[in-house]
């Protein structure tokens, strides 16, 4: 069965079809929840809540945005509710999450660069959890879920311009966190991290 067929069957009350949808999407939903909440325990709660919301909402799901986008929206909303209820505890997300760097140079990094890259990844991982909830939400949706501005606008129910500017502010805030903790200095090829404030108009 295709996802569309599973969605139709689940909307009609077929729990087995819904289970297939859960298993197809559980890693993505859990990943999003974990990135947004920061701890495995919170993420599991949020993921569960998102799937139950999906089950409840399927009969009225019209499919305009696609099931996966709709499910991510439910997950993001569940995470946002969770964060705003102040129930979360900031934790640590394991570094070893898979994935491949997309824009690294073609050449193989030397041992030192590789170590520095890992160090920066660890710092970014920790820095994301220090962002404000609204900055982390938008950056996770963009960078980890790779959602478009339009999709993010739908999920967060903010306009497109706000999405763009909030992502930019979030990136700026994350950079500041990394600069303050000394994690960008020495990593960049140009080694110009210390001049951030200088000479800027």
């Amino acid at each position: 069965m295709t996802v569309e067929e599973l969605v139709r069957a689940a909307a009609g009350g077929d729990a087995d079809a819904f289970e297939q949808l859960v298993r197809l999407h559980e890693n993505k939903v859990y990943s999003l929840a974990l990135r947004m909440c920061g701890t495995p325990e919170d993420a599991a709660d949020v993921a569960q809540e998102a799937f139950l919301s999906a089950w409840r909402g399927l009969p009225s799901f019209r499919g305009e945005a696609g099931f996966a986008t709709w499910l991510y929206r439910l997950t993001a909303n569940a995470a946002i509710d969770y964060l705003r209820r102040g129930k979360h505890q900031r934790g640590e997300i394991p570094l070893d999450c898979g994935g491949t760097p997309l824009d690294l140079p073609d050449r193989e990094p030397g041992p030192q660069e590789s170590a520095e890259g890992k160090e920066l990844q660890a710092a970014v991982n920790a820095g994301l959890l220090k962002l404000s909830d609204s900055h982390r939400e938008v950056l996770v949706l963009r960078e980890f879920q790779e959602l478009s501005y339009d999709e993010i606008a739908q999920i967060l129910q903010i306009d497109l311009g706000t999405v763009k500017s909030r992502i930019s502010r979030a990136r700026s805030a994350l950079r500041k966190i990394l600069l303050d903790s000394g994690n960008l200095s020495g990593y960049l090829p140009s080694n110009h991290t210390g001049t951030t404030k200088e000479g800027r108009s």
Partner: protein, 249 residues
């Protein structure tokens, strides 16, 4: 143009959303601005680090099973997805809420009084009230003008667990704030019982003498149903304060 505006362009560039003419503007600016070059390089490095962290994280074992346990429990009742039609009733009968509310109020106050006193015997009294409430419900179930109505799935609070909390500290009984008649009540997290329940749920409602725990979405749905039916309800507490929200007719 100020550097801060070029930061927005750099962000859009990373996302592949920068128009060609803006891209040229950005490159021209960066050619003469070391600070923006650094900002650009930093952001590319951060983006690459995030890319390396990207990828699905394995969901914990049992997540799907846990979800499906809840789903199948609700699916066991035809039409139920957290809300299900009242048995034997196809219609919305506004009067139902008034009847239920009357039962609810009595049973709820009985239950809370029982919990407040901290005795299992008194708790039994509340359960008796519950049965009476269900009887009243059945009495109006076949209203001829019925259209459609809902009540919440059976997730009633385990009275034993509730009384256990109360017995642990009977002095810290739930705080009632009755207003006039027994039409509304406020229960705050000052109560150990409430404290335990609000941990997972934002609201409660009393229906046919049983205590039901509701999620925020369900709670909103219940309020909408009540409003549409023209029923009077009272709510108190806020999400922020994590106070209980109670509904009575």
């Amino acid at each position: 143009m100020r550097c801060a505006e070029y930061e927005d362009m750099i962000s859009a560039f990373i996302d592949g959303a920068l128009a060609e003419e803006d891209c040229e503007l950005l490159m021209e600016h960066m050619a003469g601005c070391t600070a923006c070059q650094n900002y650009f390089n930093d952001q590319i490095a951060i983006h690459n680090a995030i890319s390396a962290l990207r990828g699905e994280i394995q969901a914990p074992d049992g997540l799907a099973e846990s979800v499906m346990t809840s789903v199948r429990r609700s699916a066991a009742s035809p039409g139920s997805r957290g809300l299900r039609p009242l048995a034997g009733c196809r219609g919305r009968a506004p009067a139902r809420w008034a009847v239920l509310a009357a039962c609810c109020t009595l049973a709820a106050l009985g239950m809370w009084a029982a919990i407040g006193r901290g005795g299992a015997g008194q708790m039994q009294m509340a359960v008796t009230n519950t049965a009476a409430g269900e009887g009243a419900d059945a009495g109006i179930a076949d209203a001829p003008e019925a259209e459609e109505s809902y009540y919440f799935e059976d997730r009633s609070v385990d009275p034993a667990a509730a009384s256990e909390y109360a017995m642990a500290d009977s002095a810290a009984a739930p705080k009632f704030a009755e207003t006039g008649s027994a039409a509304s009540a406020t229960l705050t997290t000052a109560s150990p019982v409430a404290g335990a329940w609000v941990e997972d749920y934002l609201g409660t409602a009393w229906v046919a003498g049983s205590v039901y725990k509701l999620t925020a979405a369900e709670f909103d749905e219940l309020k909408a149903i009540l409003e549409e039916a023209g029923e009077v309800y009272t709510e108190s507490g806020t999400m922020e304060s994590e106070s209980f929200l109670l509904i009575f007719g």
